[in-house]
Symmetry: D2
Subunit: 151 residues, 4 copies
């Protein structure tokens, strides 16, 4: 089990919108790529989102493992929605940048993507994510998200 950095650093994560959960779930459904990949929400809490995805050969690289970019797509959404849980009603988030290390082959039947907020600022949020294949950590991400006014 991953221990979440924010909690570990002793800070509480408080939503700024009573509607945060429904808003995140709706935002997630609006990302068409999540449906295409078969990614679903496994858990959602203020400052933390966990996604899941079954193996799908359509998204693999040349050894038949999930492509690093596929893993990153789900991890970016886990981190982005983790930041989104803490946004006020008139704000949404964009990915400014991310960096991922790949720890082990993305080989398995069940994938899990944990995203959490390390620091939620007024404009920028720093997040961290870890991807797992059948329980083994395969990738770790550090990402910056930016709050923008909802169009």
């Amino acid at each position: 089990m991953m221990v979440f950095a924010a909690a570990a650093m002793g800070r509480l994560m408080e939503p700024h919108n009573p509607n945060w959960k429904a808003r995140c779930e709706a935002g997630f459904l609006a990302q068409e790529v999540m449906g295409t990949l078969g990614v679903t929400i496994a858990d959602i809490a203020p400052g933390r989102v966990v996604l899941e995805m079954p193996f799908n050969a359509a998204f693999t690289q040349h050894h038949g493992f999930l492509h690093a970019g596929t893993v990153t797509t789900a991890l970016d959404s886990a981190c982005g929605f983790a930041a989104f849980t803490l946004m006020p009603q008139d704000r949404e988030v964009l990915t400014v940048e991310f960096k991922s290390n790949f720890l082990s082959p993305a080989k398995g039947a069940a994938f899990r993507f944990e995203g959490e907020v390390v620091k939620s600022g007024r404009t920028l949020s720093v997040t961290r994510g870890t991807a797992f294949a059948d329980g083994v950590a395969i990738s770790t991400m550090q990402a910056t998200m930016m709050a923008v006014t909802t169009p």
Copy 2:
């Protein structure tokens, strides 16, 4: 037009395998996710690979633009195959890590992904990539690739 860093730094990129081009093309076709996304090779040279992809709503985020992870999937392959063009016959490459900044919305009809080798070492290669949407730079990647013995 992007000017390639390696050429700009005055170093020549020499393949170490007479068969480098056919090997890259075969490796690319073996990445099932490339076919799923509709990514194809537009140009390939020693130390440099350019990929293309038409817009596809199935891989979008909540505003209908390509998801950052989709862009990253193609950019990672552009960078990885750029490194692969310089590998000897018994080596292939794995992505160690990458970092991407997102410059503009991934909004457009035609996407282009340029990957190039900045430094090709015996074990590690440093690469750089830029993604374009209808000619506008939308993302820039810095990635580390590792040479591993072909299984």
Copy 3:
């Protein structure tokens, strides 16, 4: 010679402050660490700053080469001041994040640090930097800078 990405992408970099150069030079002198390290400005233009530093054993790692962090300190300032050249009078920049790859040992007598703006946005600027030791590229950075109101 490194060819600068922004120019290569066909965009002009225009200062938004007639006083940009004097302001950058003053800001640079105010960074006490630059004097401590012996870093000086070699060249400054809108969207581009080049710094220089002679070898100094006081800032080395265990092989007697400049420490990766020393190289990064100068490269971060090169990138930050490159972004600062394009700021209006009431704005300055903070480093949001950076990522550096190390290409070759930081071994040499004369070090050079080139920073340039890839994209200058209203809030965020994306920059790129390359460090050289006696003309050899030793490190490449991709960094995000944030415009903040001058206190």
Copy 4:
């Protein structure tokens, strides 16, 4: 308190050299920049190194806070030596790349730098670091280290 990722992921970190601690301490003393900055070892364990540094105006930026590069220099050494604790007798480590986010101003009297190994591979180690100023998290690093044969 930061909870360490490796322990959190349920893996034990075992040294491969009975002499690991003395070797790390000697390696640390050989990094001249550590002495120049006033950085010392606060704690050292297999897979984990904590460094400390008092504030020093000589290494500050224009607001009088520690320069991002100074923080990164100490954090890189914390991560590098964390990886080094797990190396066999004939190996040492080089920094391949790192990425740091800056969370809060590096403002304080006492700085602390925690580095830990996320994954220790035969060739590459992935590490993570967090810097604190008077107990407040100011920067978080994700870094790749490479094992090389000791010259």
